[in-house]
């Protein structure tokens, strides 16, 4: 069953000098409970594809379908809030909020009762291996691996079915990188979420159920 589908997606944008065709007629489908790696060289359009799948941009041609409904027709803010969470290479935690508050933030946007949100945030933080004494620490007081795990906890807490990760291990050492990848694999295989990772790292890509290769904005079948 397809949860998310890209249907002949194209996306172009204009920079200072020219119009760049970042994605050209990409079609692919993503199912729940599976992991996907999108690989490719820098500038191949993989991050742009991720932003289209996350509803951060709307395609110039084609469409992204979530459960059969186009992102053009839905409220993209609500789509990101309720269905698609994004994890970034550089963590992107709110620097002034503690680890716990960072995880609570998307729950607040969903108007979840405070006590319930707090309990859920604690569960998610523990699930990604953050110790209780670290809940009240600010991002600057956490290691890179811990920050990325807090970012994953934030993405999970909202209960989103689709996890989109842009180079989630890019800034981590091997040990932390492995931890993060294991968490993402567990999310797909044990919790039935759809995990899509953009990565340069072919070793990580090899651990995913399916690999999609981007080249010059075009998707090629993976190995």
């Amino acid at each position: 069953m397809e949860l998310l589908k890209a249907n002949a997606l194209s996306f172009s944008y204009r920079n200072k000098y020219q119009t760049v065709q970042a994605v050209k007629g990409v079609s692919c489908a993503f199912a729940p409970g599976r992991t996907y790696a999108i690989v490719g060289k820098s500038g191949s359009g993989k991050t742009t594809l991720l932003s289209l799948l996350a509803g951060l941009e709307l395609p110039t041609e084609g469409e992204v379908l979530y459960e059969g409904k186009s992102t053009r027709e839905m409220d993209c803010d609500a789509y990101r809030r309720d269905h698609a969470a994004v994890i970034y290479q550089n963590y992107n935690l709110f620097p002034l909020l503690t680890a716990e508050e960072n995880v609570l933030y998307p729950l607040k946007l969903k108007h979840m009762p405070k006590a319930q949100a707090k309990q859920l945030a604690h569960e998610q933080l523990k699930a990604v291996g953050i110790e209780e004494e670290e809940f009240k620490r600010f991002p600057a007081q956490l290691s890179g691996g811990q920050q990325q795990r807090v970012a994953i906890a934030r993405a999970l807490a909202a209960g989103n079915q689709i996890i989109l990760a842009d180079e989630p291990t890019g800034n981590l050492d091997i040990s932390n990188g492995e931890q993060v990848v294991n968490i993402l694999l567990r999310l797909a295989h044990e919790e039935g979420r759809c995990v899509i990772i953009v990565t340069h790292d072919l070793e990580i890509a090899a651990q995913m159920d399916e690999v999609l290769t981007m080249r010059d904005g075009v998707l090629e079948p993976g190995e």
């Binding site: 951060l56 990101r80 809030r81 970034y88 992107n92 002034l96 933030y105 998307p106």
Partner: protein, 381 residues
């Protein structure tokens, strides 16, 4: 407004303090100037209503005001409320002058219509005066003398041999303008011994009996409505022309009318100019409030693009982001406006300040929160 907003405010204490100080200063300036403008307008209305503009009847050249010999046609026109100038004037000050002889002493007998006709009757100016309550309306031959005279003649009758200086001519009128009459001394004035004052109505009757016709030697009055000086001059034109120095009888009139309103006009002009300046200044401060709002909003949001993009990727709508950020930036100006507005008793100017400040702030914030959520990924790439 959430905890994150408070943390951001606390993280930038100098900007928060600057925002608070600017808001308080501009709000106070707006409240003060609004109050000042209101007070100036009230004061101007008070001056317009209470300023006593004196009008004096003179000859047409404006050189003579106290020996006019004005016949009753002019006096009647002056006092007539329907056909004359009565509706434009108040407190008419009319006098009629006779000469008298008493025990080979000569002096002046003057009919006066009210205390303001002569400084000798002014208790306010420190004069030692006694005038019975209904003295100025009397038609009987009663009089006021100097205090020395009163000591001698108080309550008694004075037999005065009178001459009406305007009564001897023209000769074809009955009477020759002279005669002897008995006056009852009822009070005293603060002037010289040979000056006697009597009520103006009685003086008119006396003149008619001595000369056969009545005259008035001086006439002055106050404007009933200071804004109607021009209207008064237009209505008076038939009988009293505006004074033209060097021209004896313009438009055939025998008398001129001097409106002594130079000081009133100068005062009003100065106040109007002051009010006009304030009216220009107030919008300027409103614009400054708007600019200050923009500046504070700009400074507070210029380095927050990444945070706003992150909030958008987490699903915050642009409207909610705008609202939250605006509230975050307006909480301190709101507190300042509340405090200043309540402290200075000027809620409306404080509200105007807040509205202008909010608009400026909203423009800056609107620009900042327009950031596309995908910017965070592009930046990373």
């Amino acid at each position: 407004m959430d905890g994150y907003s408070f943390k951001r405010l606390l993280r930038r204490p100098w900007l928060s303090l600057l925002s608070l100080v600017i808001a308080a200063a501009l709000c106070a300036a707006l409240c003060y100037l609004s109050g000042y403008l209101e007070r100036e307008r009230t004061r101007m209305e008070e001056i317009r209503g209470n300023y006593q503009v004196l009008c004096v009847v003179s000859d047409t050249r404006g050189t003579k005001t106290d020996d006019l010999g004005m016949t009753h046609f002019f006096t009647d026109f002056l006092l007539d409320e329907e056909k004359g100038l009565g509706r434009y004037i108040k407190e008419p000050r009319l006098t009629k002058r006779f000469t008298y002889e008493l025990d080979r002493t000569q002096g002046e007998l003057i009919g006066v219509s009210r205390a303001e006709c002569s400084p000798l009757l002014s208790e306010a100016k420190g004069g030692d005066v006694y005038v019975p309550a209904d003295f100025y309306e009397q038609t009987e031959l009663v009089c006021l003398v100097s205090k020395t005279f009163f000591a001698r003649y108080g309550g008694q009758s004075l037999s005065l041999t009178l001459t009406d200086p305007k009564g001897a001519t023209p000769q074809y009128l009955p009477g020759n303008g002279t005669g002897t009459r008995d006056f009852t001394v009822v009070g005293w004035h603060s002037g010289r011994d040979n000056l006697i004052l009597m009520p103006y109505p009685a003086s008119q009757l006396l003149a008619e009996r001595l000369s056969g016709f009545v005259t008035t030697d001086s006439a002055a009055f106050l404007l009933a409505d200071n804004t109607k000086a021009e209207e008064l001059l237009q209505s008076a034109g038939e009988y009293f022309a505006p004074v033209q120095p060097g021209v004896y009888a313009p438009q055939g009139s025998r008398f001129g009318l001097i409106i002594r309103d130079e000081q009133y006009r100068a005062t009003m002009a100065a106040m109007e100019q002051n009010i006009r300046r304030l009216q220009y200044l107030l919008p300027l401060i409103a614009v400054l409030s708007l600019a200050a709002g923009f500046l504070v909003g700009f400074l507070a949001t210029r380095s927050e693009a990444r945070v706003y993009a992150l909030m958008r990727t987490l699903g915050m709508t642009r409207g909610r982001l705008l609202g939250t950020t605006l509230l975050e930036q307006l909480i301190l100006p709101l507190l300042a406006a509340l405090a200043v507005g309540a402290g200075m008793g000027a809620p409306l100017p404080a509200a105007v300040f807040l509205a202008c400040h909010a608009v400026g702030c909203a423009i800056a914030i609107f620009r900042a929160v327009r950031v596309a959520p995908a910017a965070i990924l592009r930046e990373q790439e």
